[in-house]
Symmetry: C2
Subunit: 331 residues, 2 copies
């Protein structure tokens, strides 16, 4: 087996975040699900955008954010995701390539437009996301390049993208290609709503031994296992997946790797500005350590530092020099 | 004469800023004019965008930024400017309306697209701007609504927009409408390159008594008057314009109003992040005091506080509560 050209290749939504400060009152008035990700259609997106304050646009997408973190650390990455042939699609493509990430999926002509996520950020830094999936949900299975999958140590899949039918088929094809090439498959559960709709698929993938690394938060772990207690949830999944990582927000994170258990506290943050991307950057830090074969605790520490950086400013992509931050903290 | 519905109506470029951190090395490699605004065509814009790091998009445009500051202070504002019927045009229109500013200019169908300004921000916070004017340069004279002009205490004009022919005709029409209605006309010189190309026009407008309030920085004052010393420049213009405001960056600002002179020091800033919009927000603070008939020194203080806020974060539109800042500083 040749030396992989990429550390991680990811398949995810290709989304531009449209972000504005909000208030608890506004969250209530618009009947938003505070802290969650809600899929919206074009009409609802237009209504919410009209109600939103002056905004800024910053490229997002869960798996794409994770790659941006990995690339900022020096990881070699490639992304597969569907934009439309429009201005927001050009913004997404620019930003991911400018981050040093290979991105070869051609834009999709015509309607619908590139995906956008309308993010209302309350004064506590909590983000409430409303995603119009647009072109992103039409990622065709043909976009999966088996050679590119085989060229990466890890295939990273975004649970959000399991919901629409075409990308789900693309991801199944990618999993097969990764397994054929002897690569690891990592999966992030993304949101409890995805598990509510596709939990049986995920449990099946796990039982089949098709997932090597599973990322979840506490709510997702509970949704997938039916266990309210985190330790029960961990115990239920541990036999099914070699590496299990559960992010716990301000409580830090815990991971199991082939019988070994490690935990990390949350990294202190001077001021939480915008929590968008916290889980994505946690995964970035963890994977960076993982592909280098670092101890489990060190992988978690890297995750915590990357997550702390991204919640200290607007947007879900890193701004500070993550390597310098980690060197300062970890030596 | 009825009570004006607006404090300020402005005509300016309708631009979305595309901003990324840069380095002095990159500024040199790309042969950019550090700290200046350079007009670029579509090819050069594409080249520069390819070279730019991951970016964020935030609505800009000089006069539009000034209105955003005024509106944040509680001023009643309207904007006239030309976007295309595209995604960036929708972003600009959303952001200005969401700031509480009336904006009725219909988008322009077809090519060229909405204007964008590629802004490279060096570690000292200095912004180097490269503007693709796109649709903005096709603002037609027909977009000027004389009733709207008459409904505002002050007509505010952006010098940048004097360069393309159609908007220049529109601004001449707007000046006539303002004068007919007995309103004040304010003009910002924007950049020395505009004066190099249109200085004779500006001197003519001043000699005709068509400008009541003139905003300049030191370089623009020198370019317009030919006087290297600021006092000589002020003395040359004072007889021609009732209110003359010269922003001097870290040296503060000075103003003359019908024989009265006042000056203000620059407001301290913890960290200069991005100087984009400093002059625009200075004008916002000044005009807010001016339309309320405040003392000249107070108008300058408001300008300095608004400018300090906008250079402390990314983007040329205010983020903090400007009224609260001013109340804290000025009582």
């Amino acid at each position: 087996m040749s030396q992989p050209a990429y550390d991680v290749i990811a398949i995810g939504n290709a989304i531009v975040d449209v972000m504005a400060p909000s208030s608890d009152d506004q969250i209530g008035q618009l009947a938003l699900v505070r802290g969650a990700m809600t899929l919206v259609d074009a009409d609802r997106a237009a209504t919410l955008y009209d109600a939103m304050g002056p905004a800024r646009e910053i490229s997002g997408g869960s798996a794409a954010n994770t790659l941006a973190g990995l690339a900022a650390l020096g990881g070699r990455c490639a992304f597969i995701g569907q934009v439309a042939d429009d201005q927001l699609g050009a913004v997404f493509a620019h930003d991911i390539r400018a981050a040093g990430i290979a991105f070869a999926t051609p834009p999709r002509p015509g309607e619908p437009p590139t995906a956008r996520c309308l993010i209302f950020v309350t004064p506590d830094g909590q983000r409430t996301m409303n995603t119009f999936l647009g072109a992103s949900q039409f990622l065709p299975a043909g976009a999966i390049d088996a050679d590119a999958i085989a060229a990466a140590s890890v295939l990273y899949l975004e649970g959000y993208l399991w919901d629409p039918e075409e990308p789900r088929a693309a991801m199944r094809r990618a999993i097969a290609a990764a397994r054929d090439a002897g690569r690891e498959v990592a999966f992030t559960l993304s949101d409890p709503f995805v598990i509510a709709r596709h939990g049986e698929d995920f449990r099946h993938l796990l039982r089949e031994g098709l997932i090597d690394i599973l990322f979840a938060n506490e709510a997702e772990l509970a949704a997938l296992t039916g266990a309210a207690e985190i330790d029960a949830g961990l115990a239920a999944l541990a036999p099914l997946v070699p590496v299990l990582v559960v992010a716990r927000s301000e409580k830090g994170a815990v991971a199991l790797r082939r019988g070994e258990r490690a935990a990390v506290a949350a990294e202190p943050v001077a001021a939480v500005v915008d929590t968008t991307g916290a889980g994505d950057l946690f995964a970035a830090g963890f994977l960076f350590g993982h592909v280098r074969g670092e101890p489990l605790a060190r992988c978690l520490e890297r995750g915590a530092i990357a997550a702390a950086e991204v919640i200290s400013h607007w947007g879900a992509r890193p701004e500070a020099d993550l390597n310098a931050l980690m060197t300062r903290r970890l030596g």
